[in-house]
Every structure is written in C-alpha cells, then in structure tokens.
C-alpha cells in the first residue's frame, strides 16, 4: 500500500472515531474558548490595547488546544496497544506520521474556525485581511501539528508522556509561535504584505523542516 493511501486510511479511522466521540474537538474547543474569554476579561483595557493583545491570545489558545489534541490523538493509539497494530502493518512508517498529522490538522482547524470569530468579537478586531490571517494560521498550524505529531509518537511508549511532550514540544515550536504572533500582530496593525511575507517564509520553512523530519525520522523514533 502506498504512503498516501495508507495515510488517508489512518486519518479516516481517526475521523470516524472523532465523529463518534467528539472528544478531541469538544474538549479542545472548550479549552480554547475559555482561554479567549478569560484573557479578554483580564487584559482588556481599551480597543487599541485589545488589538495588540489579540494575536498572543489567539496563538496561545491554538498552541494549548493543539497540545491537548495531539496528546489525546496519540492516547487513542495507546489504548489496547493499537499502535503496535499499526507498526505490524505492511505500510511505510511515514504513513502513520502523515495519517495522524492529517487527523490532528483537521481537529485543530475545527477549533480555529470557532476561535477566530470569537477573538474578533472579544478583542474588537476587524477581519479585513481574513485571507492572510487564514494563511498565517494554516502555516502555523501545519508546523505545530508536524512537530506535535512527530514527538507525540514518542509518548506512546513513555510513562511520562504528557510531561515529556509538553517539555519537548514548546521549545521546538517557539520559532513557529514567534513567527505566527509577530506576523499576526503586524497584520492587525495594518502592515503591508511585504512586511508580513518574511514571517510567512519562516513559517513555511518551519513546516517543511518538521514535515520532512517526521517523514524521515518517524521510523527511527519508533524503533526500540
């Protein structure tokens, strides 16, 4: 079976489970909404300050919601040792990485579809450049999901899985988070595309590195 086909079979399995339980999307969305609401209550002083705070709130919500999604997604592979069933299958190991990443990406996209309008309302944003914001979020989410999926797999075999993933992943995604926050801040401040393009390139490079690393290193990471 080809890498692409196997990845979609694994992603379809994750979506089927999620459609039945709604566990990941409900919990992560609820958590992200809570972060936005509490942040708006805590930090809101006036409209100008709100616009400057909003990018940080948006990306922190995405990052923490993403961490929850990745942990739970890999947690499902731990129950009944289903991960071993995947490893015993005659598929490229990279397909497991891409399959899980597609699922995580879709779960996080659902969260963001709720999050962006909510942040706009609570922080008085005018979403004039929705296309650019979607691009920034997509690139940042791709990178986060790639890194989270890659290192989340390590937790399937670790007893300190939640802690180890949190400790490992946040330093790794710092470049993507910084790029996302600064680019979004510039966007909300009305900066022209040329000033944002550099950050877009950084985010795209980060995505390429982590998707490439996931594809190439996944087998080695899962070997005993």
């Amino acid at each position: 079976m080809s890498l692409v086909r196997a990845a979609f079979v694994i992603a379809a399995k994750d979506l089927r489970i999620e459609a039945r339980t709604r566990e990941i999307t409900l919990v992560t969305t609820f958590f992200a909404v809570l972060v936005v609401v509490l942040s708006s209550l805590s930090f809101y002083l006036d409209r100008n300050l709100a616009v400057r705070i909003a990018p940080g709130v948006l990306w922190v919500s995405v990052a923490f919601a993403g961490l929850l999604a990745v942990l739970r997604s890999w947690g499902r592979e731990r129950e009944h040792d289903a991960m071993r069933g995947l490893l015993l299958s005659p598929i490229p190991r990279g397909a497991i990485f891409f399959g899980k990443a597609i699922g995580n990406l879709l779960f996080l996209t659902v969260v963001e579809l709720v999050l962006v309008p909510l942040v706009a309302v609570f922080f008085h944003l005018e979403l004039d450049h929705l296309g650019t914001l979607a691009l920034l979020l997509a690139l940042g989410t791709f990178g986060f999901v790639a890194a989270g999926t890659l290192f989340g797999a390590l937790g399937v075999r670790s007893n300190a899985r939640d802690l180890s993933l949190s400790v490992v992943i946040f330093p790794l995604i710092t470049p993507a988070l910084l790029g996302g926050v600064v680019a979004t801040r510039e966007l909300f401040a009305g900066a022209p595309w040329v000033e944002i393009a550099g950050w877009v390139q950084i985010l795209a490079a980060f995505d390429l590195v982590f998707f490439g690393a996931g594809w190439l290193l996944f087998d080695a990471l899962l070997s005993d």
Partner: protein, 227 residues
C-alpha cells in the same frame, strides 16, 4: 492464498535490553505447516523471541530469515505475511469489531470483505457491530484473533491466545490453529496452557534464561523439559 515462507530460520539471536540479556544466542528453524509451542518460565525470553519474529524488536545480533527474505532488509515485505496476537488486542475501543477488522484489512491491502469472512468464520454474533469498549475479555480475544488472521498470514505468532476464552472459545482456537497449520502457515504459540499445548503442538521448544534448552517433538517434551 499460498503461504509465502517455506520456513523461518532463526540464527544465533541475541537481544539485550540494557545489561539484561533477554535472548542469548537462540537458533532454531520453524517449518511451515507445523505448530511450534514455545515454553519456559517467566522472563525466559519467550515474548522477546516473539517480538523479534514479529519485527517489533531489533535483535542485538543474529538474524532471522523468512524463507528467502531477510527480516531486516525486507521488513515491509515480511510484515505483509505476518499475523500477531499479543496480550493486548490492538483494537480501537471506539470502533466496532467489524470496523477494526476492515481497518486492518485495508492496511494489509486485502479486500474489506475479508473482515466479514472472518466474522462468519468466528461466528461472532451481533456483538461484532458494537463498540469494542463494551466487549467482555473473551469477546475481545476472539476479535483480536480474527485481526491476526486478516492477512492470511504465512507466519502466525500467538502469545497466550487462550487468555479469557471459555471452553468453547478454546476449542474454536484449537480448530483455528490447526486450520492455519494445515493451510501451510508457520505457527508459533507461546502459552502456559498445557492442555492447549498438548492439543496443537507438533513441536515444543523450551527457553530458559534466554537460551534454548530443549527442542523436540510435541509429545515427548514433557520429560525433556523436566530434565
């Protein structure tokens, strides 16, 4: 479907976990069309041997040849012909048993109708369309065994397969093991269940502290193991 391996040849297999020597130079040939029962006390290396045969653990040294295929060099090709049942069911609790079987059939590149075929063969009844989370231990074990057979394996590895099964379930397991052997598969069974072992063993090997200390016919091993 014809079996892919005429035999599986294990040569001087050593597996270290840190300083612990789980396998200390095990050599044996597992022929097709025979059930080999692996016995030994806890910690003797039975499960490690099974993990190495399943390509889940990399041997520290030594080799495993699956027919003409080297286990390390042709891992994906070998996995296509593996069926493995371990202590864990490897089933997704939120999917039904049938959905799990279809999922694994897809991953093994066999038609999903194979799942329905196995459901009929195992006479699983209506529970197969309930979420796995609701299964009893015995039901779980039956579906896990069906999962191991999804790919019509040439090498079937069974680790304590009678766990949780009632008398009828064990009898069905015996029939399945014999049927797989008669189909020409290499069957390796790790069990402490003497009755099951007596019913299916063509050959029995005994491991102790990672070494092969006995290798003989199924019917004569009791004396050999004891000595």
């Amino acid at each position: 479907m014809a079996v892919a391996f005429a035999e599986v040849r294990v040569k001087k297999l050593v597996k270290l976990y840190g300083r612990t020597r789980a396998l200390a130079g095990v050599s044996l040939t597992l022929p097709a069309g025979a059930v080999t029962v692996v016995e030994g006390p806890n910690g003797s290396g039975k499960s490690t041997l099974l993990h190495c045969l399943a390509l889940l653990a990399k041997p520290t040294s030594g080799s495993i040849a699956f027919g003409t295929l080297d286990g390390r060099a042709h891992a994906r090709q070998v996995r296509r012909h593996l069926g493995v049942l371990t202590h864990a069911s490897m089933l997704y609790p939120d999917l039904t048993g049938r959905e799990n079987l279809r999922f694994y059939a897809e991953l093994h590149g066999v038609p999903t109708s194979r799942a329905d075929e196995l459901c009929a063969r195992f006479e699983v009844g209506r529970f197969i369309d309930r979420a796995v989370r609701t299964y009893s231990r015995g039901q779980l074990q039956r579906v896990a065994l069906a999962r191991a057979l999804v790919a019509r394996p040439s090498l079937l590895l069974l680790d304590e397969p009678s766990t949780g099964l009632d008398t009828l379930g064990v009898q069905r397991l015996v029939e399945v093991v014999r049927a797989e052997r008669d189909r020409g598969a290499v069957v390796v069974l790790v069990t402490h269940d003497d009755e099951l072992s007596r019913q299916v063993a063509d050959r029995r090997v005994l491991l102790r502290r990672g070494r092969l200390v006995f290798d003989g016919e199924g019917s004569v091993v009791a004396e050999g193991a004891a000595s």
